[in-house]
């Protein structure tokens, strides 16, 4: 919405949030009466050259930084902040997947939130808090606490064992998450196109969805015939999708099918990075802090002063290296999980429904939060 304010033979034009237009008009009328001058306020509603302002509830608002970093939505797109707020922590947690690191990440987030007033660090803290929480959830599924399966005396039971036999299950889980993510992106693209009247593009998106589901069915038929074994149905769905693509997007659509396969395989990085994180944590866990503590306790109970000194030195060294090692593993994990999860969103997820390119709405005055 655009509001023009004409003052003393001059006029000012600008953009204004539609929810405050009434207040602006009321202010203008009051000013009119006060000054006794000719104040004309003209309301113009236009969709051309619109400015974009994101409006989200407080917790979701933290993720607006990620959307701004890529590009603001153009006038004909949905705000993807809500979707990123849901899926970014899930994929982040799946890559980092450790109860200990998750709790440390949440503590770090709280520290950053306390320590900084600036907008970016508050956003970072909010994102890290949600991501840390999902890391704890996935850590529970993977049964990991700082790399080992013993959490302060409690033995964790992994549903997907990342360090050993469950790696194939992890690959399957990563691919499933990828398919759901891409499918969701295509559905959002379908609705966006439908809402703005681009029927052909909407049907093309639906065809892409068919192709993706078809590939999933083909994969199941080849590798897990127990779940879905009908090769004919799978091939039929794929062919139907491809035919639809040829009709609604032409040859250009068909040529991009390997792109879809590459996008689906790209989610394997969840498994690869997760595995390397687990291996790093297990390496740090080799340091025998527990054994050194035990022998120190033995020397204390035996009352052997030389033994105590001889046992304190290695204990201190081991403890310091252990802490440093896990700090490095945590730092690497946070960084890599964040960047790769972000990359999965920007390249794979957004390419299915989001193009961005909106211009920012910069208010003259307003509440900053």
């Amino acid at each position: 919405m655009s509001t023009c304010i004409r003052v003393r033979g001059a006029w000012y034009g600008g953009w204004c949030w539609h929810k405050v237009v009434a207040r602006l008009e009321a202010m203008g009328n009051a000013l009119n009466k006060q000054l006794g001058r000719d104040l004309v306020i003209e309301k113009v509603e236009t969709r051309e050259d619109m400015r974009i302002m994101l409006n989200n509830p407080p917790l979701i608002r933290r993720f607006e930084f990620l959307v701004r970093f890529f590009s603001l939505p153009s006038a004909s797109e949905y705000d993807p902040t809500l979707f990123i707020a849901i899926t970014f922590p899930v994929i982040f947690g799946m890559i980092l997947g450790d109860i200990g690191y998750g709790v440390l990440a949440m503590l770090l987030a709280i520290l950053i939130y306390r320590g900084a007033k600036e907008g970016f660090y508050r956003s970072l803290a909010g994102m890290m808090l949600l991501s840390g929480f999902m890391t704890v959830v996935w850590g529970y599924i993977f049964g990991e606490f700082l790399g080992s399966d013993m959490m302060l005396g409690i033995k964790l039971h992994p549903y997907i064992e990342r360090g050993g036999a469950g790696v194939v299950m992890l690959m399957a889980a990563a691919l499933i998450v990828g398919m759901i993510h891409l499918g969701a992106g295509l559905v959002i693209g379908f609705y966006t196109n439908l809402k703005h009247g681009h029927k052909e593009h909407a049907i093309a998106k639906a065809c892409w969805l068919l192709v993706e589901i078809g590939f999933v069915l083909v994969g199941l038929t080849l590798f897990a015939p127990g779940i879905f074994g009908s090769g004919l149905v799978a091939a039929g769905v794929v062919v139907l999708g491809i035919l639809g693509l040829i009709k609604y997007e032409g040859a250009r659509g068909v040529v991009e099918i390997p792109g879809l396969i590459s996008n689906m395989l790209s989610y394997l990085r969840i498994m690869a990075l997760g595995l390397s994180g687990v291996i790093l944590a297990k390496l740090v866990n080799i340091i025998p802090v527990g054994a050194a503590l035990d022998s120190l306790m033995h020397s204390v109970t035996a009352g052997n002063p030389v033994g105590i000194i001889l046992n304190i030195i290695p204990l201190v060294i081991f403890a310091v290296v252990f802490a440093l090692g896990h700090a490095v593993a945590l730092g690497l994990g946070l960084f890599e999980s964040g960047i790769q999860s972000l990359r999965l969103h920007y390249v794979e997820f957004f390419s299915k429904f989001y193009h961005g390119g909106g211009a920012a709405f910069v208010p003259l005055r307003g509440k900053q939060d």
Binding site: F69, V167, V168, S266, R269
Partner: protein
């Protein structure tokens, strides 16, 4: 005397190593070029540090997929 199973294990090990090595070299090459260009971009424009980080992380795909292939190779029984 050549031990047949030994050759199989050697093949698997070499295959996994070459896969990972090729992925790592490819990523290193790509990121070095991107890094050099990104430094030039940062010197000319202000406040691009975050975007530079994202672009530098994009070629990680190659080494990750190399790792996946190496891992799959290691899963086979000699």
């Amino acid at each position: 005397m050549v031990d047949a199973s030994g050759i199989g294990t050697l093949g698997i090990a070499l295959g996994a190593a070459i896969s990972l090595m090729a992925g790592a070299l490819a990523t290193a090459w790509a990121q070095s070029t991107i890094g050099a260009a990104a430094m030039g971009w940062m010197a000319e424009k202000d406040g691009k540090e975050g975007q530079v980080l994202l672009y530098l992380a994009l070629p990680e795909t190659m080494v990750i997929l190399g790792f996946v292939v190496a891992f799959l190779i290691l899963q086979t029984k000699a």
